[in-house]
Amino acid sequence: MSAIGPYRDIVLDHHRAPRRLGRLAPPAQAAEGVNALCGDRLRIEVRVEQDRVTAYAFEGECCAIATATASLLGDLALGRGRDDLALLERGFATLIGGGIAEIAELGALNALSELARYPARRKCALLPFATLSAALRGESRATTELPA
């Protein structure tokens, strides 16, 4: 059995060997992302200098989708500012919601576009994005379950 559905090779690769796993040395901004219903739980730490992310680390107990997304998100986040990332978060939501087929700037994260067909798993991929943006806004918690 090889890559299938949203589990493309690059996703499986980042699930098996997540990049930037761990914690940052202070000072860093951090947030916890928790999807209590499905049991995903991760922590993202970032360092921000001159409005740009200069360091990124995460750890957590997550499914492959969330883990791979968090891992891939590190690449995306580095060097970008908060507004830029907020825009990309919206773009990613549109991508996995099936609203658009590909967004060049999302790079390898486009591999998750198959989630359009798995609505129950979208919140897994959105969790790292929501957690990152919470950290950037100085909030400590995020969830992508049960949008209020």
């Binding site: 589990y7 995903d40 989708i65």
Partner: protein, 415 residues
């Protein structure tokens, strides 16, 4: 009432039974469907689907409200379903059976109408560590209003209720005990007769959550000896939005009305309203008439199979699947009670339950992953979620073979 409904019949043929279920011929992601999520909701045999269809095409009317022929037909069909259900679970009479939209409503009715009026600060309600949220949250809500608290009877690592501890916890301030007949996560079958006996000796009403029992084994509420027995129609081959609460007549009679509306009254006056006798006192408004007509057909269907046959067949499937799963490296079964029902929760080392479920789905295999509406049980095992394969008599060993092979592939993919 005492007919031998649950005899094994030599004519039970699993493949013929399977053919009664139209949905099982479906494919998913281009693969033939393997449906191993019957503990979540069962599939429906054609006779049930057709009974609902026929009701709407030929007999549809409101019940107990009009004297015209259609309304008589609808009332006869609806009350006939009540009688069939009552007989099926061994109730003393149809008047002991309140029809509800499912287990959840049945338990809420007991919480608000039986328990709450009796509850004082300092009182407690006893449940077990393996309950479904439906047998936890209603008690929490009424306890919170009354200053009462919830106590939890522990289970063993194997997933068995520790009966001595349950009995020790039946102290004088316990106002009600709630226990599931069969765990929807572990498959554990609790010794409800014994528990009921202990409760009755102490004058503590016992509610048994029969959601996972009624669909899978002969059930006789009177011989269990509990006070309340709740169950849900959609897990027993019946339509969604149906279920029931059986209760001892004395209990029902002493319960004040809870939902207000049509059908549950005797006479409404602004100066004061008088109420109907049970079970109608608790059935306000237009019921899910077509749903219950379908549930009546489901009961007839299950009686035709014979619940002893259903039980025997599902035991075979459970044994076969348990054996086969032992060959999957890194797989751990959660819930190993002896004599358990055909539900297997499992974990696979290095693979998250949702990933397993999504990948199995891509192979056409429907299993459930998550907390199964049993957070406290997940907390007990220290896991956020499990995968669960749950079987019904309409499943086959071939399907189990496909499932185990797929699981092994998927496991390797994630490893």
């Amino acid at each position: 009432m005492n007919a031998p409904l649950h005899e094994t019949s030599p004519t039970f043929d699993p493949l013929r039974a399977r053919a009664d279920f139209p949905l099982l011929t479906r494919s998913v992601h281009g693969k033939p469907l393997v449906y191993f999520d019957s503990a979540n909701t069962s599939q429906k045999p054609a006779v049930v689907i057709e009974a609902v269809d026929r009701f709407y095409r030929q007999h549809n009317a409101n019940v107990a409200r009009a004297v015209h022929a259609l309304s008589e037909e609808a009332t006869t069909a609806y009350e006939g379903a009540r009688a069939a259900l009552a007989r099926f679970i061994g109730a003393g009479s149809p008047g002991e059976l309140v029809l509800t939209s499912g287990t959840t409503m049945a338990i809420n009715l007991v919480a608000y109408s039986n328990l709450q009026p009796r509850l004082q600060p300092g009182d407690t309600v006893l449940v077990t560590q393996m309950e479904h949220h439906a047998n936890i949250v209603p008690w929490q809500l009424v306890c919170a209003r009354s200053g009462a608290t919830l106590k939890v009877a522990p289970i063993s690592e194997r997933g068995e209720l520790i009966v001595e501890r349950f009995v020790e916890l039946l102290t004088p301030e316990v106002r009600l005990a709630g226990v599931t007949h069969v765990s929807n996560v572990l498959g554990t079958v609790n010794p409800v007769r014994e528990l009921a006996h202990e409760c009755r000796r102490r004058g503590i009403p016992l509610l048994v959550d029969g959601s996972q029992a009624v669909p899978h084994m002969p059930v006789d509420v009177q011989s269990i000896g509990c006070d309340f027995y709740a169950f849900t129609g959609h897990k027993m081959c019946g339509p969604t939005g149906t279920g029931g609460l059986w209760a001892r007549r004395e209990r029902l009679e002493s319960m004040p009305p809870f939902f207000g509306g049509g059908e549950m009254i005797r006479e409404v006056r602004f100066a004061g309203t008088t109420f109907a006798d049970p079970p109608h006192r608790f059935e306000a408004g237009t019921p899910n008439i077509a749903g219950f007509v379908g549930l009546g057909a489901a009961v007839q269907y299950l009686e035709g199979l014979g619940m002893a046959n259903v039980l025997a067949r599902e035991r075979e499937l459970l044994a076969y699947a348990t054996d086969a799963l032992h060959s999957v490296p890194g797989l751990r079964i959660v819930g190993e009670a002896s004599g358990k029902a055909a539900i297997i929760s499992f974990l696979v080392a290095g693979a998250h339950a949702h990933d397993l479920a999504t990948l199995l789905d891509l192979e056409g295999i429907a299993v459930r992953s998550g907390h199964h509406c049993a957070h406290p049980l997940m907390q007990f095992y220290g896991v956020p979620a499990t995968c669960r394969a749950s079987f019904a008599f309409y499943n086959t060993t071939d399907e189990i073979d496909r499932f185990v092979a797929a699981l092994d592939k998927v496991r390797r993919l994630l490893a």
